[in-house]
């Protein structure tokens, strides 16, 4: 057993994915008929009744009874959602009310006539898009469809019945349907029903449609319907077998490539490729090779290419545009490198002489294809499209003719003529031709093909008129000269052709180089921008200037999207545009002008995505009519939007990282705070509890000194605990904003005295020096709070300065301020910590690694002093090691000193 068969029997991931995707979406069942009147609606309603009896919650979204009694009878008893009324050009049209159904959220909705085109002004132009949205919302749908509306069969049906149906449904809808029920009726029975008047026919089209109901047509349509259903059943079978890893005869390795050009038949060639792909169960792609010739196509022709590529995408193929020097090499190179096995092209309709002259791409492809099968499809005129084409061409006009270029060409020839007249005296007449040739070459380089051909003509005439005898006539006497003139003309035409082609290629290359450079610069600009608004602005500007469109950028904001940048500047969108942008964001799909959804909007809205999902929406509009973006512009836009999306995501991620860092820092602080509080509470408690239990249980074994020691520990540690808890409470009061200082006129000396008294015990090991100025003014402050501040400062000095050193407290008036200092001879404050020492729970590590204090004392000092309208700062002594804490209070103008009061 080889590896391959082992691999083949594993469930295919795509098949499993497809199944999984179908589980969250609503289920779609299509009742497919070969022609109107076979009884699809009737069948659907019967199925609905069966479901209703099972207890399913279902509503009728839209069902056309066309007055048929049986159908009318069936619809009774079902809940019908009222239609949405749309005014259009004076007509009142009724459409299915999508929003009402989405709001009602039934389990199953019945939708008749899947191919119906909605009235302008509704959300989607086509009813099948409404159905897509219902399915996306998880609602099951029953729908009816006639086979002639299926996109890939469209031209086949048109050929059979000679009626082209304008309303089509993409094949992908049928491919994604979970169930297809074929409602079948033999042609004879159907014609019988038609005669009995049981088939509804609109009056205005009665004759055309009667032609439609011929036995031959109906048989052909019936076969199409049966075949399409069989194909679908086949595909389901394959999915099932792949998902369950059942080995089978898979058509392996077949890949189909279809060449797309500006030819009107290309749509039917694309449809053929799709049918071939279906039969072979093969993936397929449509390719357009962009050569220098493409640049010269009319806007209408370019639109047709774009339309063909879009058609391929709609039919489920991949569409690409690839630049290349010539079509044959481009197509074959792509086919070979991507292992395509089939190539589908249109049969050339150029006249034979043109093929002789320029060669035939078809022949070259067949000759060089090697082992790739080439399918050459006969051209089918499609009258409707042809009409559209002519209309488009008349509207767009041919390639621009710039009269200046022709004047320039004439100028070149005139110069050549003058030069020839001068040189005539030194050179043979035959050599003068070279001067004219040079002029033609110059024209080709400067102006391109047509002006240079014009120059050719002028040159031939001028050469003949002025230089070939008989002079000053357009007749030529010498037959030798006739030959010379003929060859001159041939050479001139070839040279101008070649030169013009080189010029066109150079122009293309230059354009590409410019685009590449622009993209590169854009990428660099994006990567160097760290501010979101700058980035958005740069993106809007870049897209606007490279694609010549107006741009708005929208980013998510509060459940919707909002404009964040625009070029040219724009702040708000009208309601229709905003709705389209919102829809585009919510569904991650294009919406608005030219898109399938809300085409009434002024702009086209496209999602910007990265691998992680959509990041924003770009809205485009332009003052030009017609499609907003040509295929190559669309590619350029995608490149720009992808880069921008990545950059936006990068900034978002950077912000996330920053937030995470802040959160981690906060978390670290919180946990260190908790550790610190728990340490500060537990340590004294441990001493107290230990001492107390020791005293209680072992008093007999303890001598008196030991008992005193333990009791002393209990007392001191209780006091310490009390101080800590008092600090914690003060801090809590400060943080809760509950500190409301009183404002009494107090004598500073008095408060200093009481604070020193309280701190006597903690300062027992230190020398305390007090320096109070004689003229100390009375100050307005809260004596209780201020005493606490002084005590905390003294306590702090006692903790950090070693025993035996001096702690100095000085107070005096300096200008309009009262300044009070507590100075110690400790290690001082590390310069990095000068501000942080006032932070909560911040502690400077003492020199001997002792952990001292609670980290609250100074924080409380600052809180209290601030509350009383003063300031407190910490610094180091300039004269020696040691810390200085300075408290400053402003003095009011009508200050009084204690002495004044005494006097």
């Amino acid at each position: 057993m080889d590896d391959r068969s082992e691999y083949d029997r594993r469930p295919s991931p795509e098949a499993l994915l497809r199944q999984a995707g179908q589980e969250t979406r609503g289920h779609l069942k299509i009742f497919l008929g070969a022609a109107p009147g076979v009884g699809k609606t009737y069948e659907m309603l019967q199925a609905a009744h069966a479901k209703r009896h099972e207890g399913l919650d279902l509503v009728v979204g839209v069902v056309e009874t066309h007055g048929r009694k049986e159908t009318q009878a069936l619809i009774e008893g079902l809940e019908i959602t009222s239609r949405q009324r749309v005014e259009y050009k004076g007509h009142r049209l009724e459409e299915m009310d999508l929003d009402a159904i989405l709001k009602r959220r039934p389990q199953l909705v019945l939708v008749d006539e899947l191919a119906h085109t909605n009235a302008p002004g509704t959300r989607h132009p086509k009813r099948y898009m409404d159905v897509e949205e219902l399915l996306g919302a998880g609602i099951d749908v029953y729908a009816t469809l006639n086979i002639q509306h299926v996109e890939s069969l469209n031209d086949v049906v048109a050929r059979i019945t000679r009626i082209r149906v304008r309303e089509t449904v993409p094949d992908s809808i049928i491919d994604r349907a979970d169930e297809i029920e074929l409602v079948d009726l033999t042609p004879d029975d159907l014609i019988q029903r038609l005669r009995e008047g049981k088939v509804y026919l609109p009056h205005h089209a009665e004759r055309a449609i009667r032609h439609y109901f011929q036995p031959g047509n109906l048989t052909a349509l019936r076969e199409l319907a049966l075949r399409r259903t069989a194909q679908r059943v086949d595909a389901q079978m394959i999915d099932y077998m792949r998902a369950h890893a059942i080995a089978g005869p898979w058509a392996a390795g077949e890949r189909i490539l279809v060449g797309v050009n500006q030819d009107p038949s290309c749509a039917s060639v694309v449809r053929y490729a799709r049918r071939l792909a279906d039969r072979l169960h093969a993936p397929w792609s449509a390719i357009h090779i962009e050569t220098s010739r493409t640049q010269r196509l009319t806007a209408g022709e370019r639109d047709r290419i774009a339309e063909c590529l879009r058609l391929a995408e709609r039919l489920g193929g991949e569409a690409l545009t690839v630049p290349g020097a010539n079509v044959t090499e481009g197509i074959l190179e792509h086919a070979r490198t991507n292992n395509f096995t089939h190539l589908v092209i249109a049969k050339s309709k150029r006249p034979r002489w043109s093929e002789w002259l320029r060669g035939s791409t078809t022949h070259r492809l067949i000759r060089q294809a090697g082992d790739i099968s080439v399918h050459v499809i006969a051209e089918r005129r499609e009258p409707l499209e042809e009409a559209v084409r002519t209309a488009a061409i008349t509207a767009e006009g041919g390639p621009a003719i710039d009269p200046k270029h022709y004047l320039g060409a004439a100028g070149f020839v005139a110069v050549a003529l003058a030069l020839g007249v001068v040189l005539q005296q030194f050179l043979a007449v035959s050599n003068i031709a070279l001067v004219f040739l040079t002029a033609v070459l110059a024209c080709a380089i400067a102006y391109g093909l047509l002006p240079s051909l014009f120059a050719c003509l002028l040159s031939v005439l001028a050469y003949n008129f002025f230089f070939l005898p008989p002079l000053y006539t357009f007749t030529i006497a010498d037959p030798e000269n006739v030959v010379a003139l003929f060859f001159f003309a041939v050479v001139a035409v070839i040279v101008s052709n070649l030169t013009a082609r080189v010029r066109a290629q150079a122009l293309t290359a230059r354009q590409r180089a410019k685009t590449t450079e622009d993209l590169y610069l854009f990428a660099r600009k994006l990567s160097s921008t760290a501010v979101l608004d700058d980035l958005l602005w740069a993106t809007a500007f870049q897209i606007a200037s490279m694609l010549k469109v107006n741009v708005v950028l929208l980013l998510p904001e509060g459940g919707s999207v909002a404009v964040r940048a625009a070029y040219p500047p724009e702040d708000t969108l009208d309601e229709a545009d905003l709705a389209a942008a919102k829809w585009s964001w919510e569904n991650d799909q294009p919406a608005g002008r030219g898109a399938d959804t809300l085409p009434g909007a002024k702009r086209l809205f496209l999602p910007m995505r990265t691998g992680r999902g959509p990041v924003g929406i770009v809205g485009l509009d332009s003052d030009r009519a017609g499609p907003l973006l040509a295929p190559d512009q669309r590619r350029l836009f995608n490149a720009l939007a992808d880069q921008a999306a990545l950059a936006i995501e990068r900034i978002g991620l950077a912000q996330d990282v920053e937030r995470a860092q802040v959160a981690a820092e906060t978390e670290r602080l919180r946990s260190s705070l908790l550790t610190s509080i728990s340490h500060d509470l537990r340590t004294p408690l441990a001493s107290i509890l230990g001492s107390a239990t020791s005293l209680k249980n072992y008093r007999a074994t303890l001598d008196e000194a030991a008992q005193d020691e333990l009791i002393g520990t209990i007392q001191e540690e209780s006091e310490r605990l009390n101080r800590f808890i008092a600090n914690l409470l003060d801090m809590t009061r400060l943080e809760a904003g509950a500190v409301q200082p009183k404002s009494d006129l107090v004598d500073i000396a008095d408060i200093v005295g009481s604070a020193l008294g309280r701190a006597g015990k903690v300062l027992a090991q230190h020398r305390v020096v007090v320096e109070l100025a004689d003229d100390l003014p009375m100050v307005k402050l809260d004596p209780v709070l201020f005493e606490q501040v002084l005590f905390n400062l003294l306590d702090n000095a006692a903790k950090y300065a070693p025993g035996g050193t001096e702690v100095r407290l000085s107070a005096g008036r300096e200008g309009n301020q009262l300044r009070l200092r507590v100075i110690d001879e400790g290690p001082g404050i590390p310069p990095a910590d000068v501000e942080r020492i006032f932070d909560k729970f911040y502690r400077v590590q003492a020199a001997d690694s002792r952990r001292v204090g609670t980290g609250l004392g100074l924080a409380i000092c600052r809180g209290f002093v601030d509350a009383m309208g003063g300031t407190i700062t910490g610094s180091n002594r300039p004269d020696r090691r040691g810390a200085v804490f300075t408290i400053t209070f402003p003095l009011s103008a009508d200050r009084v000193t204690a002495k004044d009061m005494a006097a």
Binding site: S678, T683, A686, L689, G690, T701, L710, S849, R850
Partner: protein, 236 residues
């Protein structure tokens, strides 16, 4: 035996390592009154110095030292091959610190704040274990439970209890370290050879309790130290 420890021999030497003077003070007073000879160290460096100068019989160690982490001190002491019993004082509520200390070779721990009885009991259990290693007692008795380590017979209130070999080796491990906390990891290593999960252990403990405990819901012999391990009650 509850009174003074080892009254005949020279007093047992205890080294108390804690950065809080108040705690050192009451420990010195209390332990001295219990007949221990107490020396003190305020930080890790001092403790290591003291240990190097003169061997001690037991080390009471605070984990939250300002200079060297308490865990590191345990590691260094054990790294030098010293078997000195270590009782850890932990002011932290974090279980990981305790488990780490025990895994590194500490014998037991008390969480601050603690009653002096608790600490003395831990110190005694740690010391007893060292002494027992020289001459193991043949029959372990604790309440109604008796384990004959020589004949491998377990009785509760005189009635023999049938244990599986695994249960017996588990009980034997507990008995050998009666009064001392055993971490999950140590039990798994000793009984299962390092394999198995804590849940596995819990199942066996449950089974064992059902066989030897009078009320498995409120165990008397095998006590749970939440987040750390189990502790067998000290013998009578």
């Amino acid at each position: 035996m509850i009174g003074k420890a080892a009254p005949l021999a020279a007093p047992l030497k205890v080294l108390v390592v804690d950065d809080e003077p108040a705690i050192r003070r009451f420990l010195r007073t209390s332990l001295t009154a219990q007949g221990y000879h107490v020396t003190e160290a305020a930080d890790g460096a001092g403790a290591l110095n003291d240990l190097r100068r003169a061997p001690v019989d037991i080390l009471v160690l605070d984990l939250g030292l300002p200079d060297i982490n308490g865990l590191e001190i345990i590691e260094r002491v054990r790294g030098q091959g010293s078997p000195v019993p270590i009782v850890v004082l932990s002011s932290r509520t974090d279980e990981t610190g305790k488990v780490k200390a025990l895994d590194l070779g500490a014998d037991d721990y008390v969480t601050k704040p603690f009653g002096i009885d608790e600490l003395l009991a831990r110190i005694r259990a740690a010391l007893r274990h060292r002494l027992q290693q020289e001459g193991e007692q043949p029959v372990f008795r604790c309440g109604d439970l008796a384990v004959d380590l020589v004949r491998g017979i377990v009785t509760v209130g005189g009635n023999e209890v049938k244990l599986t070999p695994r249960e017996y080796s588990l009980l034997r491990l507990f008995v050998a370290h009666a009064g001392k906390v055993l971490t999950h990891r140590l039990i798994l290593r000793e009984v299962w050879g390092g394999e198995g999960e804590v849940q596995y252990l819990r199942v066996y403990i449950r089974a064992l309790r059902h066989k030897i405990e009078p009320d498995p819901g409120q165990p008397r012999y095998i006590l749970t130290e939440q987040g750390v391990g189990y502790r067998m009650r000290a013998p009578d």
